[in-house]
Symmetry: C2
Subunit: 335 residues, 2 copies
């Protein structure tokens, strides 16, 4: 059996209450007593039983991390950022990978509530209803929505996807492109909507037609497949493609290559996210950097703040994206 405060108390010749005070670094306890208790703890190999303490205190110092797809490198970065911030504060996260399944997500959330997490970091699965977030808020469980916003009752951390799309489009327009396509947008999630709306809005402002929009999954496979649709008819094919994310953009470049076209020369390609593999690709991918790691850190910190002071209206942190120009966008090809 592992030693408890009682065992330490007996061994050190004090009461359990005193041991507890030592554990909590209370100034009330005399230096000599503290030292004695410390040596007892060392010699018995005491391990603090946080779960037992949690029962008495109101906090578990634990949060739930619910992620829509951990194998997506962008969300892996997000998770790493969260892990960093929580580590600094001495907190731990339960993790759950919903794989974009709202059912799985609900199951995970229920399980985490049973474990009495103090709050939840949620990158919602596609198709998550606002009710999921509202229900948690109603029950006094702080939630921070990350990237995808499904409810208005909880905090939100994200990037300004509209601005990101504007940066990307303006860059292409400045290079002389006039037929600009958008690939992605199949997802029924706020960042996809934001991008699509911004895309529809920015082109007319420059007197350009809103190029074709192809719905596809934001994966390499989806991007590669979209190329087939866009470039079937050479005469109407776009000269530039903005993609929902880098994964998708890498797919588009792959699709172009398979058609014998060179990305950056025969068609410009821009992505979103700035995942590492974009930089280590040829041609290197021009992209809108979203800063997943930073969003994760900010999200974790916001959640901890919210747990400490649950009052006040929901907060939003919207980080500005940055255009990273690399090789995948050349000037409009002369026809």
């Amino acid at each position: 059996m592992r030693p408890t405060v009682k065992d330490i108390a007996r061994h050190a010749g004090v009461s359990a209450a005193t041991v507890s005070l030592v554990l909590r670094n209370s100034p009330l306890v005399a230096a000599a007593t503290r030292a004695g208790v410390q040596t007892s703890m060392d010699s018995l190999g005491y391990v603090y039983h946080r779960a037992a303490a949690n029962l008495r205190m109101r906090l578990t110092h634990t949060v739930g991390l619910v992620i829509c797809e951990i194998t997506n490198p962008f969300y892996a970065e997000l998770a790493a950022g969260i892990d960093d911030a929580l580590d600094q504060a001495g907190w731990v996260a339960f993790v759950a990978n919903t794989a974009e399944s709202p059912t799985r997500q609900s199951r995970f959330i229920a399980r985490m509530r049973e474990h009495r997490v103090d709050g939840i970091l949620l990158a919602p699965a596609e198709g998550t209803s606002a009710e999921v977030v509202d229900e948690l808020s109603r029950n006094g469980i702080p939630v921070v929505q990350m990237l995808r916003r499904v409810g208005r009752s909880a905090d939100y951390v994200s990037a300004d996807f509209r601005l990101g799309m504007t940066l990307a489009a303006e860059h292409l327009i400045r290079l002389g492109h006039q037929r600009i396509a958008f690939v992605g947008g199949a997802r029924r999630v706020s960042p996809a909507r934001d991008r699509t709306e911004a895309f529809r809005a920015i082109l007319p402002r420059f007197g350009l037609p809103v190029g074709p929009i192809v719905n596809c999954l934001p994966t390499r496979e989806g991007g590669a497949a979209a190329v087939g649709q866009l470039f079937r008819d050479k005469s109407s094919a776009p000269t530039a493609v903005v993609c929902h994310n880098d994964l998708c953009a890498l797919g588009v470049m792959l699709g172009l290559a398979d058609l014998g076209l060179v990305p950056g020369r025969d068609a410009a390609v821009v992505g979103f996210d700035n995942i590492p593999e974009g930089a280590m690709h040829r041609p290197a991918l021009t992209t809108v950097a979203i800063g997943g790691r930073q969003i994760g850190e900010e999200g974790a910190r916001l959640l901890l703040r919210r747990i400490k002071s649950p009052e006040g209206p929901p907060e939003s942190i919207i980080l500005p994206p940055k255009l990273v120009v690399r090789e995948s966008c050349g000037p409009r090809p002369s026809i």
Copy 2:
């Protein structure tokens, strides 16, 4: 305040003990009583307080997941597999990303012990001493080491990297290659050692010299940099390169492309892991599939078994790798 079993008991007109029996689906309780308790729970919005129950029972139904680098897509797959298996069993995992830092790792493990995890799934950071695992084992905390083995006192799940290397090398030899290099091996971890040793062993068996071995980090950057060393002198350059992992292999292909060489034509490249991006690359990467997801699942299941019955000698599960032939290996280029 959230309702407790006592509140439910009062509301349903039974004792707390009976509510507990209902919660645990005990056959002891009469159908009518059970129904009454159920409706009380529904109407009061009861949420099971597992942490409190844990204190009484000896299990927390919680494991620690300590991963050396979650942003590496291979380990992300591993994590997804673990998550799947735990979900099926109704368990939850605390997650920690050590980012290859043994210090961070020790801190995380200590924190998880305070939370009284029932076991730990460990993909050890580079430089982890056997003592870390032994200490846990001595204290009766089940550990499953994943991929990297640092101690003999705990279970281990991995792939047969020696066999993997043999498959890769034989494939290249069969294609006619005679100057075969190995890129990777900088890591002081068992899978790297296994690969290196197998590499050294297999070539002499075919009467071939053990080609150059370049130590580098198993990243795109590392692979790309290694190309510079290997292909500086054209006359002695290898015709085939086996890489520590796919990330590294993608880097090597990038480096080759930057030298104007075409992977698969001017030099063959093989990776390890079979991460998704290898398939969606041109040329598509030939690789030794390790099955990270499956290793994760097996590891989680093994840990749960071990938690249920802690007795018995440490177990090892070594899964066979599979060669996935794609485009990055052609026959030996005629000079």
